[in-house]
Symmetry: D2
Subunit: 429 residues, 4 copies
């Protein structure tokens, strides 16, 4: 199996984290999935991803003190494998795990993903639990010094020990039985523990072994640019930032990150700008809100993610989606960049503006994205020459958010862009 | 209680680590104590210290793989307090803990010390064990991200939470009941976890609370010189190096460390050069040997430790002590520097030599230590002026290792010193 | 010559920098000296120090662009030695250098100091100028990679090359001829260039060679605490901070610095808290102002500097000194701490308060300084026990700023201190 | 002008540094050029590059002390521009500069390159020399704190000041007059001074302004991978290592560097593995020698450089070139990879082996490079699957160094490779 075939274009979907934090339950997942199937699927949205802590009984119950409660009760099988908490995911009882929920998602024509933490549960190590198909026990492959710095659930693996790869194999065998299509593995992408790099490869190997084409997504960022070819070899997407939220300073910083990673976007290989904090978000965090991004900033975000070809994962509670947001995320001509554009390049970046250009893989089309990084409106000039064109004369332009069309003239082109906003032009060349 | 009164001169004793590693048992402790009482006590040696892992059942049993076995079985009471492993310390059965062994040591006229790790047992946190005299449980005060980087037994404390100081208080209440005179607390001196600095103060507070004058020794080093006054405020001794062993390179480095700390030696406050790897050592590490230090190097070590006024802790298996070593550690005139000298200052240090000078607190005596840091013999010149003296003319000199005496002449003095060796002169001034 | 005898108590004086920046001239120096002789000398103030750039013709002339103008014209003799700019110091013409000005200062009963930069003028290196008494030229001992990071005038020395020590010797021979009593050497104390440590020793050696007891002051800080004994060996005072100005945040930070250095104050050895930005300052910087410190903050500063025994160097334009400031700096009982107290120790420091205690060397007097680090008033409790006293019962107290007296009662004492203020008690014990 | 057109394939040439160090002269340049024209030109070798210090009179004369003599005499015009030292480059007299030598090189059908240091001569700044076409002087645009850490000749520019871009423009106007085709700019690629990044763009701008298609090469490395797109925007080649020499450890490290940079090789954009230390080298360094690389290591180097598509710059004294080396650098089928292959990817890298694969841009040809990183011979297995091929069955193989041909069988292929050696297969697919 060639892992690049698992995701021939950047994955598009929904993730429970931005709205529900650690506390999402089965019914909520189903409601969001239902909405997606009915309203978004036709535009390419297809993944439903259950994020962190689905195995924890008390997740979210002490939110003022902890995001991740230490030493809390978790659901685990005899082979050191975490299972969905049955109180939160009732269909998982009697060892059925996520199989029933995955079946439901699949019945809607969608795909099913889950989040995991790198390593093996600390509880399994302290209990000396078994590893499936192997005579070693969890304490023998858990490294007591190899911990995540923000989540207390796991120990990293002793990657060179017998039983370590077997443990990951046993996890993916289970996920394959369940029908999982997408794994977001956390505490691994930044490689801040020495074993993390090796564990990426072990996850890849476990996917190959399980024979199911499971997309592998790595978190959290920033990923290390000097390891670009390593990520490309073993994963489908990797976060190039720490958690992204609805604050202009993070969006501003993303321009530098995309510049850094621009030549590393390829089939099955996607530097990941993180989830889209659109619509209603933040409830599980105790501050439910409509996204703090202005409309212009939302357009900027969508434009950058699409021309760069980041995966798109919605953070909004879909059951509360408003018309404006829905329209924003269902613009077919914009979303087409994900599947049909390539070779996106940053043409220019200063403190106040950024310009990107890419082209269609099938037609003679150029895509020009012009970003205003200032708070106030400005006119931004682009030379045909900067885009490798002789002239703009007589070229048909369409701005894809406003659907306004025009005809180019001369050697340069001026875009009028609102503060923190963007324009995305489709140019026939 | 003024903690500086607990150790008015640098502590002198024996520690189980250098010979037995993690695996010492009650009988071995007793044998070494017996030897000390019979042979060394009269020279000032008095502490018997049981080093790390006395609570672990399997300590030392997988030595080729681990020094500290992760997730191994430990003896612990219902209040999250570690107890001696009864298989290794039979007198500790039925909750008697170290009380019988301490009684025995005291009956020999000696003092009893034990090693502890900063924090609370990981097992207690995962089991939600109780804390004595407090309604919180171990999971509430254990910080899952605050671990030691080389020992897997403990979690550091949530120092700001209710129950944390109470836990340390409960430990020292127990140690006080047992009759412990000396605590060597590990994973704390280097302050490489943010809570460690606070935990030093909490230990001090727990000693004050327990009403027993327990000497507090902090490990491992190097201690932070910029925190000198903090150590001085709360501890009696603090390691200024990482583990010290019988290799010239470590001894050579100690000269720089002593230079750094020279003005911080005071009553009850001792920068600690670590244990003396003399005689037979290394058995528990799988490489029993007679110290690799040459005789000259041993003299250098003893001279530096004594003029600097480091605590002296013997690493040798005392039951196998040879005459040469015994003589080395029972030179009364040399040991007198520990109790009666002060204001030791490094006069000079180059790549090839070091010179120290101090004076007696009671008599008009100067102590001059001359170290040859080269491999080959050299003559080292000292100017009277360098020592704050007008002249050496007519001053009586005694070299304290050889007991040779002479009379000074003129403004300078030349010491003939063997490679890696030292001379220690007592000068009547 | 024992350099510790050059400054048996912390030097007290005035420095041109805080008011005049780089642009002070002879007349201004004389006016400030005259004021000192008439008004402050009797209280112990005695040094008049000409700070940086006295050799530069255009110093201060492009202040909006540069503090130190690169490649500007300087006065230099044929032996690569900088001389006073004759346009600014008219008495220096015809090679007389600072001799006439020093004579004048001495005639007032004061002492004369100047600032120098570590190294040799870049211009001398590029011109291949001579070195006095030596056949090497400046280019041979200037290290083109060894520069100061904030001043463009000099190259550091090739300390191992013949001619380097000779150059420093030639400088101090000249300073000795001029009658210089105090050298503030800059770009050296922080040891941020590899040669700086060696150059400190070379300066010391040059002073010994010149036979004049010139006090050696090292700048800028922070000095390295791990090099404490090195500074003690070769210099009289060393800055423990970067430049200090009239802003509470710097004053607040000084408490930590003094804590760090508290055990390193001794005869002839003074960790230096930097100049006192009192009265009118800042003119050369283009922002002349009356110090921004509140009166309480000024009292805090004076109290800390005095109990810690920092050198005291006034930054104020003395010719504009107001009565309040004059009174602040001429409190005899407070200034007495500089000469007659010792063993100052920080007793306590939290985010909101600090307590120091020291004692008189001659009488049975304790000095207790209580600092309120909060903005608002607070009562601060001190236990007799914390100061090593059994009780405060019946002890006579005098607060040295207010001159209020009282009699102690019981085991504790409460100081009422204004926000950012201090109390300094003299206690007969 | 599109700078990517200046070097449509990786530049191939010769550089004076590896053999002559700083001391090459005109006659030596000509002799090497003559050899290239007669023997190597037909294989694609075309650049003749005069490396560092061509403007210095005394370059190489104090080699035991300095590689770069500080404050030495240099040839400079009135506009702060360095000129060839006429004693070393006689044809440059009377202001003719490198024009006569460039003409000669061009007459041989070759191209001419020179080395420059970032910035402006220190001497110009200290002399306040003029800048062409501008009323500012060198002291105004030289930054006295912005120096190279290994060469003492220059100050970096005040890039934001008027006159800075004008100075670079004046340099390239001169180089264009001379007929320079290639500039290797030093002290810039690693961006270890804050201005260096900006100066790269300024050099690019100066080339655009001068209207001559001058190839821009940046030194020294390692270049910063996170700045990949910046180098791609403004330069033609950038060093991905520090200086490379004939020692296996450097060659071994290059595999990691090439892995890091593999996706950044494109038309006009070449990550640069540095010069090839082949044949006779090292004379100017005082250790003339035949390359210390074994023949196998030389094959490894050439194979890696060619499949990766690094520029190729010969370090050998061409006038002493032996037959073996000549054959090594004139293998047409190997050199064809530089011009006709693309998308080279590292397939595997372990401590002991590395495998790369690329393909021809014009024909259905795959290139497989197999490297043995161990000292002893080994057989290295490659799966067809790893290269994206279904099978090797019936595919014609040619090993390009030995010219041995074979026919593939089955799903895997085994390469027998000598210690530190390589095989390079051309496979018809």
């Amino acid at each position: 199996m060639n892992k690049n075939e698992f995701a021939p274009t950047p994955p598009m979907g929904w993730n429970s984290y931005d709205y529900y934090d650690t506390a999402v339950n089965e019914e909520q997942i189903k409601q969001n999935a239902k909405y997606m199937a009915a309203n978004l699927k036709e535009f390419g949205w297809e993944y439903i991803v259950v994020d962190i802590e689905w195995y924890a009984y008390d997740a979210g119950s002490k939110r003022e003190q902890y995001q991740y409660i230490p030493f809390g009760k978790v659901e685990m099988d005899e082979y050191s494998r975490l299972l969905p908490c049955p109180e939160r995911f009732p269909s998982s009882v009697n060892g059925k795990g996520f199989r029933p929920l995955a079946d439901y998602i699949h019945s809607l024509g969608l795909k099913f993903g889950i989040h995991i933490m790198r390593g093996i549960p600390r509880e399994a190590a302290h209990k000396h639990s078994k590893i499936l198909g192997c005579d070693v026990t969890a304490n023998e492959i858990a490294n007591p010094y190899n911990i995540c710095f923000w989540n207390p659930d796991m120990y990293g693996l002793e990657t060179e020990k017998r039983g370590a790869q077997e443990y990951y194999n046993s996890l993916f065998a289970l996920y394959s039985e369940w029908g999982v299509d997408f794994i977001k593995c956390d505490d691994i992408c930044r490689m801040d523990m020495p074993s993390a790099k090796k564990e990426i490869k072990m996850l890849h190997q476990a996917i190959q072994n399980c024979k199911r084409p499971i997309v592998l997504s790595l978190s959290p960022g920033p990923a290390l640019i000097e390891e670009a070819s390593y990520y490309e070899g073993y994963a489908n997407m990797w976060r190039i930032t720490d958690d992204f939220w609805d604050d202009w300073k993070y969006l501003y910083q993303m321009f530098e990150r995309c510049e850094t990673w621009q030549s590393h976007v390829a089939k099955g290989c996607y530097p990941d700008c993180d989830m889209l904090p659109l619509g209603y978000i933040g409830k599980g965090f105790g501050k439910e809100r409509y996204t703090s991004f202005t409309k212009e900033e939302q357009i900027t975000m969508m434009t950058l993610w699409c021309i760069f070809r980041s995966p798109l994962m919605l953070g909004a509670n879909l059951t509360k989606l408003d018309d404006w947001t829905k329209k924003l995320i269902t613009n077919k001509k914009v979303l087409k960049l994900l599947s049909d554009s390539h070779k996106a390049r940053q043409i220019r970046r200063t403190d106040t503006q950024a310009v990107w250009f890419s082209s269609d893989t099938k037609e003679s089309i150029g895509y020009l994205a012009v970003f205003n990084l200032k708070e106030s409106k400005q006119n931004i000039m682009i030379e045909a020459n900067d885009l490798g064109l002789k002239s703009f004369q007589d070229l048909p332009f369409e701005e894809l958010w406003s659907e306004e069309t025009s005809i180019g003239t001369g050697l340069s082109f001026e875009a009028h862009v609102y503060g923190h906003g963007a324009k995305l032009y489709r140019i026939e060349i």
